[in-house]
Symmetry: C2
Subunit: 304 residues, 2 copies
């Protein structure tokens, strides 16, 4: 089973307290694809400009990622520039040059249309539905969004959510989307909009998942050196959905969903250790499995 992912492929210029990286590979679909590709084949749909080079492309083509759906338009690639404060929890966007991404209209190649697992990255909810319309019979649809769409296109977003199985957002977005401050009430309200499973990403505070089987809480891995948090959420989503796909999609049940959350957290914990996708690109499956085991050690306790 392969995963269809639609989202941004971008250049990022990032400044953290530890250094600066200029025009490095970024974008939600980039982080997602590389993380997911450790577990399942990925079909990537996105758009880049004429300035997107072979070096960047090599991040995808060297692995289990199909780039037939990565459209090349005349113009420049999406470029985001941001700066993190000393605590790495807050970031300021210095500039967002959408460039060719402004005209992105996802075209799903014929070979991708039979995809059973779909990840809708954070794009206009109308485009997210457009994608779903082009896929023959998705078995499992996961989706990301952001406050920009929650406040600006709520009704469109709700229409999209009615067709989504798993929503992955952060806790602030969940509060805004539901209008509920309490996170348990927020989860119930959002799950009533469509997604049977809600995965709340809380950054350094880990993840809370609400599903038909109940709730599941996972910490973030306590790291001594968090270098650059950019892409951690998308990397989480890639590890999560990649693992779930390898485990048989939605068929794995609650046990697979829980392990998928830990796998997402594992991949994200590597992502933040370096700029861009640098750490993900050198990562090996044994390293992943070892950190997964450390997560077990981190959270395990015996019954009374």
């Amino acid at each position: 089973m392969s995963i269809l992912v639609v989202g941004s492929v971008a250049y990022d210029t990032v400044e953290t307290p530890f250094g600066k990286a200029e025009r490095v590979l970024g974008g939600s679909a980039s982080f997602f694809s590389v993380a997911a590709s450790f577990f399942a084949p990925v079909n990537l749909v996105g758009v880049v400009g004429r300035d997107f080079g072979e070096t960047q492309l090599a991040a995808f083509t060297g692995r289990n990622i199909d780039t037939e759906g990565l459209e090349r338009m005349d113009g420049l690639t999406f470029h985001w520039q941001g700066k993190y404060s000393y605590d790495l929890n807050a970031r300021d966007t210095i500039s967002t040059d959408l460039n060719v991404f402004e005209f992105f209209k996802p075209k799903i190649p014929a070979a991708y249309r039979s995809s059973e697992i779909v990840f809708l990255g954070n794009i206009d909810p109308l485009l997210q539905r457009d994608v779903l319309d082009q896929v023959e019979s998705p078995r499992l649809v996961a989706c990301d969004t952001m406050n920009f769409w929650i406040s600006g296109k709520l009704e469109e977003l709700k229409k999209t959510l009615s067709r989504v199985d798993i929503l992955l957002i952060n806790d602030a977005e969940a509060r805004e989307l539901s209008g509920e401050w309490n996170i348990v009430k927020a989860a119930r309200a959002i799950r009533a909009m469509g997604p049977k499973t809600l995965v709340l990403k809380k950054g350094e505070h880990g993840v809370l998942m609400f599903s038909e089987a109940g709730s599941f809480a996972a910490p973030a891995y306590p790291l001594e050196a968090v270098f650059d948090p950019t892409g951690a959420g998308d990397t989480f989503a890639g590890g999560f959905l990649g693992y779930l796909t390898a485990a048989g999609g939605s068929q794995g049940g609650d046990a697979a969903l829980r392990r998928a959350v830990i796998m997402g957290s594992t991949l994200a914990s590597f992502c933040v250790e370096a700029f861009s996708l640098d750490r993900l690109l050198t990562l090996t499956r044994p390293e992943i499995d070892e950190r997964f085991r450390l997560f077990k050690r981190l959270t395990h306790f015996e019954e009374l």
Copy 2:
């Protein structure tokens, strides 16, 4: 084995988005004692004024709490007044009337001096050492403190910490005490000051423990109705140290420490369901054990 606890016994006037409670029982030693008394006998050392009535005292005397060490001074009982914002994460202190607590000089009754387990509530680090000097040979010393002492009496606090086995503070306090933003580095710096075990309380984001055996992360229980967070940290400490005492003090090793964190979180999750100690006072051991099991269900995942 019984636990000696030294801390505040107070009246709280608390306003939350859900209501207001006037002059109800509060104080770190009150929450701690009631929580710990589910697991082990508690010897309470504190001070109250002539306005402290039998009704309040009944919270202690009806259970496994010895109040010989609860001194009664001529004057009024410590009164704290605070108001929580809608998100319950931030609170404003409206007034702090220390009253008799300003003159608190802990006197440990002879019968308490052989206590093997000691909890030093959040008081002047000089007084915390005074208490330790009056205890014959404590096997396990746990301690709380706050930013007021970290910024105002750092050197005294460090002297106290050199005699402490387990420090329980929140993440902001850990950052201030260590001068390190990164929580793993902060933990290492603090453990070098004396406490072999550091328990970081993160409110709704749970707890991180750093000990000789490594690190352990536990979530807070996701509650639909958080009514009043006052006392949650002290209740956590009471459940934590009470369980640890019942498990044989420090002898229980890493497995007991981990279960103690979950037991603290369990007790704290009940504490916040009502004003003051109201929920703790109706709580039963079967209810505690059932929620402990829910914590297991909340966090459990299978190995790969």
